[in-house]
């Protein structure tokens, strides 16, 4: 009787462990699938597809596993939708809606795991969107940007997305405020260099940004316009489109901006 009970208990334990493993696999499969769908939609700038994949991530939350990374992706999606809306000034409400949602989600993510550098990088990036609807809180925005950036740098000084965000914000900041293409180039170059060496710790960790880095460095070279910059820009764009052939960001936004700068 004693042995039967022991056998049953061990079997039950094995069952519980194996079930958890199965559940973990459910989670990994689900998040990988959602991530794939998300980046497929982002590549072709399909907002409906992005919203659909947002739903997938929300549903993954129901698994109650690693909610911090799921919330990160939800925040990232809201950031992306908010950022896309920024090109149209009449979309201020939309920018606010998605940026505020993203800030709340990234805070939830940080609350559970406070040592994930990418979460702070996203928080840093989100501060730029706040300019679109609450310039009143200028000092607050500047302070929050610096805080998030410093935290990210401390946690992971070699994260390419950190320098990508530095480069993009510097590119758009007027020269009189310490910005401009000239200053953005080394940041974006550093970012691209780091992307080349980057291997994410887990397959489902964020790996976005390289295509964006190519695009902004292409523009920054063109805008800096030092000797040889035009060729650098053109070569880089060719390389970028070869690596990301279906990128609507490169073929749409970057191409259009290049035309303007030529």
């Amino acid at each position: 009787m004693k042995n039967t009970l022991k056998t049953f208990l061990i079997a039950a334990l094995l069952f519980v462990v194996s079930s958890e493993c199965l559940r973990a696999d459910d989670f990994t499969d689900a998040i990988m699938k959602a991530k794939k769908n998300l980046f497929a939609a982002m590549t072709i700038n399909d907002e409906k597809g992005i919203v659909k994949s947002r739903g997938e991530f929300e549903r993954i939350l129901q698994l109650k596993k690693q909610e911090w990374i799921v919330n990160y992706y939800l925040a990232f999606i809201d950031y992306s939708i908010g950022s896309s809306a920024m090109s149209d000034p009449s979309n201020k409400d939309k920018v606010k809606k998605y940026t505020e949602s993203a800030l709340s989600l990234i805070d939830k993510s940080i609350l559970v795991r406070d040592d994930f550098a990418d979460a702070y990088i996203l928080r840093y990036a989100l501060q730029f969107n706040r300019w679109a609807y609450e310039q009143d809180k200028m000092a607050d925005i500047i302070a929050a940007s610096e805080e998030a950036r410093n935290k990210a740098e401390k946690l992971e000084p070699d994260n390419p997305r950190l320098y990508l965000m530095d480069g993009v914000s510097t590119y758009y900041t007027p020269e009189m405020f310490g910005g401009g293409a000239k200053k953005a180039v080394p940041m974006l170059e550093k970012s691209l260099d780091l992307f080349g060496k980057r291997v994410e710790k887990e397959a489902y960790y964020p790996d976005w940004g390289k295509e964006m880095c190519y695009g902004f460095l292409t523009l920054a070279y063109l805008k800096r316009d030092d000797d040889g910059d035009k060729k650098l820009s053109s070569d880089l764009y060719t390389k970028a489109t070869a690596e990301f052939p279906s990128s609507s960001f490169l073929s749409g936004y970057i191409k259009k901006e290049m035309e303007k700068l030529k």
């Binding site: 056998t7 049953f8 061990i10 079997a11 039950a12 094995l14 069952f15 194996s18 079930s19 459910d26 689900a30 409906k48 919203v51 659909k52 947002r54 739903g55 997938e56 929300e58 549903r59 993954i60 129901q62 698994l63 809201d78 000034p89 409400d93 606010k96 809606k97 998605y98 505020e100 949602s101 805070d107 940080i110 609350l111 406070d114 310039q135 009143d136 809180k137 200028m138 000092a139 607050d140 925005i141 500047i142 302070a143 929050a144 940007s145 610096e146 805080e147 998030a148 935290k151 007027p174 009189m176 405020f177 310490g178």
Partner: protein
């Protein structure tokens, strides 16, 4: 082996059990709409505890297959909506249709946020006055209260920060901060011919609501207008900002811990106008030259997911002397004020949809006045405990309720002249040593009923009991808003309002028979508001005053027999053309009459300023360079002329004989102010330079009339606000 077999058995049995749950797949489908019946795209639908679900398409439609059957909870969410859970029984092989309506949560851009007579700024409202606008209004000197006076219905008192609203006295306006009553939030608030400045930092406020009438039952002990302020909760980051100006220096900062649980803010300012006077060649005879200090801040701690403990503190000090020549005495009028305010507030959500907050506040005000024989020290203390609770009671009805108790004492010590017309140092005087105290217990309940998406009714009642006079009052209040097109609203409000007379009247009059003053408001208005880019407001109001405190001119006699009426029209037009132009025009017509002390004919009230016009414009020359101009024009305020005098041999002074009260009027008031701001980088940091040119036409506006010793010659005392230049720089540290 046995274990392995058992394990296989267990796994199979579970799988079989699982499969018994999903012999046939079922379909769940339906639509998701918002409360206005509009289809919601991008809403997420999921069976709780699973990843089975779907996202709604552009038609708000969703559909998914699931093997999870039986009693299940289905969750519906969308970015700007509250979560909705529905219990459903999914039968194997069946199709379940669930059509769901989600309610908006945080982003209420489609909800009615308009109320009668109010100008609101806040995170979730249609902003009409933002901190940035406040700092950019020429002539407002980055002062919240002065900015408000560019809106209709309110007038500056002595070109400073104190406000008189719709023909009422400045004392009829009360400031609330995080639920606490904020008394005397001014520097130089009571000084002779010196404009007051507010101690409230607009950048520290997340919500600003100014209501010039018809306000909610949550506000007690206030007769005419309410400025309701909510300070920021947790700051977002860390940083400091410094300001160096011609008349002041300031430093402010914010801090937040990495875990986002604790935050702090501080601001400190020193006001010293000597360089300002020298640059502007101002020969006003000050001694001492006005100086002021202000320091304050908040400490915030997040105690739980919804719990927040917030501590607010502010201390201010001002000191000045200005020469004043009265018929019997020529010398410096010396005034000094110390003001302290502190508030501790705790709020949390007992349920997902309700909010409970409690605050405990304390404020003290110490005031010294010296002029000739007058030498008084006044101390007042206010303590208040307040609890508010708000919750929806149904999808359409929200309930707010609360209780409060406020304690107030006032002491007055020193010397005051026996005969007001003799201010000489050796004149006969009273020795003052008075103390008076009172308490007020209040409670309110209010329902906000959304009859439809376009029709909102808010009705409430409050009651207050005053311990000193043992008077109880009951104030019912009602307001309605009807939206008849997307941007057009009709608004109406009415209600009874009471305010207890200042304790000073009880002290000076040596009486306890004064009653709470009463006003009944009636307001009807129209507003067209197109996303805050184009606003047109027209409002008419009628205020019926009774039991007003009235006093005799010559003696400290007070009664509660005063009556009055204030009626008028406010008009407001605001146009914003992004990103270059922002401007507004406001006009008010007021007819405010009151019965004087002796109960004779009704006369103009002290702030019966018939016509007031303000034109404010700001133009962004570039993203970094903004210029602005403000033009103000108003009817001169009433005053009581002296028409003769009688010689009092005992005092060797003349006793003035007055005409009918407020039968004279000051000349028309007019002023044009300009300003400019330039944003740039300094030491790689954000910086802003600002320039203000006030009263650019150097108009001599009247402060008061004075008289020679026997009142045969009238002298004009002009306001000390003549043409000035002020500049400074702000730098992010």
């Amino acid at each position: 082996m046995k274990i392995f077999i058992l394990f296989i058995f267990l796994s199979l049995s579970v799988n079989l059990f699982g499969q018994s749950d999903s012999v046939k797949t079922s379909v769940v489908k339906g639509t998701v709409k918002n409360s206005k019946g509009k289809l919601v795209e991008g809403a997420n639908v999921v069976i709780e505890g699973t990843i089975d679900g779907s996202t709604t398409d552009e038609k708000g439609f969703y559909e998914f297959e699931t093997s999870k059957t039986g009693k299940r909870v289905i969750i519906f969410t969308a970015v700007d909506f509250g979560e909705k859970k529905i219990n459903a029984d999914i039968e194997p092989g069946s199709t379940l249709i669930l059509d769901v309506t989600l309610s908006n949560t945080e982003f209420k851009t489609d909800e009615i946020t308009v109320t009668a007579s109010s100008f609101t700024s806040g995170e979730n409202s249609k902003v009409t006055l933002s901190p940035l606008e406040i700092t950019r209004i020429p002539g407002a000197d980055a002062d919240l209260y002065r900015a408000i006076t560019t809106f209709p219905g309110s007038n500056q008192v002595d070109e400073g920060s104190r406000i008189a609203v719709r023909g009422g006295d400045p004392s009829e306006v009360l400031t609330f901060l995080d639920g606490a009553s904020l008394y005397n939030p001014f520097l130089f608030g009571d000084d002779y011919n010196t404009s007051s400045y507010s101690t409230v930092n607009p950048w520290g406020m997340k919500g600003i609501n100014f209501s010039s009438g018809g306000f909610s039952a949550k506000y007690g002990n206030v007769l005419s207008a309410v400025l309701d302020l909510q300070s920021y909760d947790l700051p977002q980051g860390r940083g400091m900002f410094a300001i160096l100006g011609l008349a002041n220096v300031g430093l402010s900062g914010v801090y937040r811990t990495n875990d986002g649980k604790f935050g702090a803010t501080f601001s400190a300012g020193q006001f010293f106008i000597k360089p300002f006077l020298e640059v502007n060649k101002d020969n006003t005879d000050f001694s001492p030259i006005p100086t002021a200090s202000n320091i304050g801040g908040t400490l915030v701690y997040k105690t739980s997911r919804t719990g927040l403990l917030k501590y607010y503190l502010n201390y201010s000090y001002d000191n000045m002397g200005i020469r004043n020549e009265s018929p019997t005495y020529s010398g410096y009028y010396l005034g000094r004020t110390k003001n302290f305010f502190t508030n501790l507030k705790y709020s949390f959500a007992p349920t997902d949809i309700s909010l409970l907050s409690t605050s405990v506040s304390l404020s003290t005000n110490n005031r010294t006045d010296k002029y000739g024989v007058l030498n008084t020290v006044s101390n007042s203390l206010y303590g208040k405990v307040r609890t508010d609770f708000g919750t929806p009671v149904s999808e359409k009805i929200d309930l707010s309720t609360g209780i409060e108790y406020e304690y107030n004492d006032a002491k007055e010590n020193g010397k005051a002249p026996v005969y007001f017309y003799n201010m000489r140092e050796e004149a006969p005087y009273f020795n003052l040593d008075f103390l008076q105290k009172t308490g007020r217990a209040g409670a309110y309940a209010e329902l906000k009923y959304r009859l439809s998406d376009n029709f909102l009714i808010q009705g409430g009642v409050r009651s207050d009991y005053y311990t000193l006079t043992k008077d109880a009052v009951v104030d019912p209040r009602l307001s309605v808003v009807f939206r008849f097109t997307q941007h057009s609203f009709l608004k109406a409000a009415t209600g009874i309002y009471h305010q207890f007379p200042a304790l000073l009247y009880f002290l000076q009059g040596n009486t306890t028979s004064l009653k709470p003053e009463q006003a009944i408001h009636y307001i009807l208005g129209y507003e067209y508001n197109r996303d805050n880019d184009f606003i047109l407001r027209l409002e008419t109001f009628y205020k019926d005053y009774s039991k007003l405190v009235s006093n005799s001119y010559n003696y400290y006699n007070y009664t509660s027999d005063g009556k009055g009426v204030a009626k008028g029209v406010d008009a407001f037009l605001k146009i914003r053309i992004k990103p270059k132009f922002n401007g507004w025009i406001s006009y008010s017509y007021v007819d405010s009459k009151r019965t004087p002390y002796d109960g004779a004919n009704t006369v103009s009230a002290d702030f019966d300023i018939t016509h007031t016009l303000s034109v404010v414009s700001e133009y962004n020359i570039s993203d970094y360079f903004t210029v602005g101009a403000t033009y103000k024009l108003s009817t001169g305020k009433p005053y009581t002329p002296v028409i003769g005098s009688i010689f009092d041999a005992a005092q060797n002074a003349y006793i003035p004989i007055y005409a009918e009260r407020n039968s004279g009027r000051f000349p028309t008031y007019t002023r044009i102010d300009l300003n400019a701001q330039y944003i740039f980088a300094l030491f790689g940091r954000f910086a802003v330079a600002f320039l203000a040119l006030n009263n650019i036409m150097n108009t001599s506006n009247l402060y008061e009339y004075s008289y020679n010793f026997d009142y045969t010659q009238k002298k004009t005392i002009n306001s000390s606000n003549f043409r000035t230049i002020y500049f400074g720089i702000g730098l992010q540290l």
